[in-house]
Amino acid sequence: MGSDEATLKTEILVIGSGAGGAVTAATLAEAGRTVLVVEEGPAFDTETLVTNSPQAMQTLYRNAGLSPILGTQSIAFVEGCCVGGSTEINSAFWHRPPPGAVQRWKALYDVRDLADEDLKKICHEIETTLGVSMSKLGSHRPSSRVFKNGLESVGAPALETPRMQRGDLSASQFAPGAKCSMARSYLPRAKQAGATILPGCRATRLHYRDDGYVTGVSVAQDDHNGHRTLSIEAEAVFVCGGAIQTPALLRFSGIKRNIGDSLRIQPMLKIAAQFEERLDSHLSVMPVYQLRDPFTGIFLGGSVFTPGFLAMALSDRWPENEAALKDWRYMAIYYTACGGTGQGSVRAFPWTGESVARYVFSPVDGYNLRIGLVRLCEVLFAGGARRLFPGLRRCPPLESLREAVDALDRPIPMSDMNLSTVHISSSCPMGENEERCAVDSFGRVHKFYNLYVADASIIPEAPGVNPQGTVMTLALRNARHFLNHTKGSDTH
């Protein structure tokens, strides 16, 4: 380390302030520990902006929203890079860890002490803090109503998904200030309990001894005073940068065992749907109904809608689809997603340490997306759609279920699909099975004594739903385990 580095000391260092980092920081600070949180992105009051606007993309999103996952077919991926992490920009849908997935994690990864009853209690506690509830008006909004009608017409259950909200998110798509993100829930609690949050600080490298103790972290700080380097010494370090940034930081620091080798994603394929009736989807909350088949992991739901998002959904065949844009008030965007049975990797780019994520699809992913697309077409036509524009490079607009079946009843190359994802996980899986796991059952990195991971990385396999609930549940469980097994200022 250079002699011009400023040095800070703390008991607990938390890297990242998203769903995992915020819960960890608040839990440890409220237990009397001295906590410092470093966050790469800025602190921004989302009371003043719609978090899916172009301005917000430049302010709150990593690389202004341009962070592709590479592979034979690149996948559009966005994540937050601000105080509160991706909880500031997501849709605030709440899902508990699926019991079936938890059973699988216990069986295949040998995760200890993951009892359903304990998880339920933790979930209930978090749900109370976040105001998890159903929308008061969202279910009556047109884009939700037509989707619900479609689901009921084909005999599928139309279940509303609760959201994390203090006000009512149905007032608009992203009513500023209504969403109960980390910047409005756990981070204020952490600060209240004495934690310090440093925005604009990017952890660049962990320093550790051969005997398994992390001694400090190098941090690059950018603020109005310019750029400087900090060295932070901590008794315990929690890395909470998310399923891509966390493995990149660990690997760049030389910690590589089972790190970044098993990235999982939930690939998503969108459809723009045109209806007879005027929906004005841009004025209302995104569709609040979702459908998930627990056996195949195929998921159907509604997506955020603005004229810009609609144009992106139509862009694969833009010359043919451009004319449809004039009917944007009659349109909405829906999606199908699947559990993702392929596998990816995360590596740190030499010299810069930037994350490089790759993903290889399995043939099952392609099959499930195709089946999901047919099911979605069925639901939307049953709900009154007149024309559908699937995100497929070689598929023309569809005007009937027959056309949809004819077009989709054959293998479709993944390279023809306009894929995106917002749900990634499992790049540092947890469990006692050291052959395949990076961290133990409570997030401690194997072979280390004071280095922990608390984010979507440790989820052993993709939960098949929005992972925020799972991340927060595991983070709270693991932080409490840490408190029970270490004394204050005695982590070593």
């Binding site: 902006l49 592709p68 992106m312 862009s315 930037e354 390279s415």
Partner: protein, 93 residues
């Protein structure tokens, strides 16, 4: 965009601009709009994924940033107090 993609992106920009020189005698930006559209269409339907991805990146960014720009939204929906405009107001713009 990540820094490791910037170099390939700039190279693709140069290729996109310069390749028409070889078979049309002019760079892309000096061609007639109809010819430009034909080239864009060719790249977007190319069998080579990098060519398709390049056009897709520019097209999606352009469409999103144009159509969701507060001034355009204000034209599209004059009856709605656009929240992006609120942001700019908050920033004193």
């Amino acid at each position: 965009m990540p820094s490791y993609l910037r170099v390939p992106y700039v190279l693709a920009l140069f290729a996109f601009q310069g390749l028409p020189l070889a078979y049309r005698g002019r760079p892309y930006t000096a061609l007639r709009p109809a010819v430009q559209q034909k080239i864009v269409r060719g790249w977007s339907m190319s069998r080579l994924a990098p060519k398709r991805d390049f056009v897709k990146l520019i097209r999606t960014c352009t469409l999103f940033y144009y159509l969701d720009h507060s001034l355009v939204r204000a034209q599209l929906e004059p009856d709605v107090d656009n929240s992006s405009t609120q942001l700019e107001r908050a920033h004193g713009q």
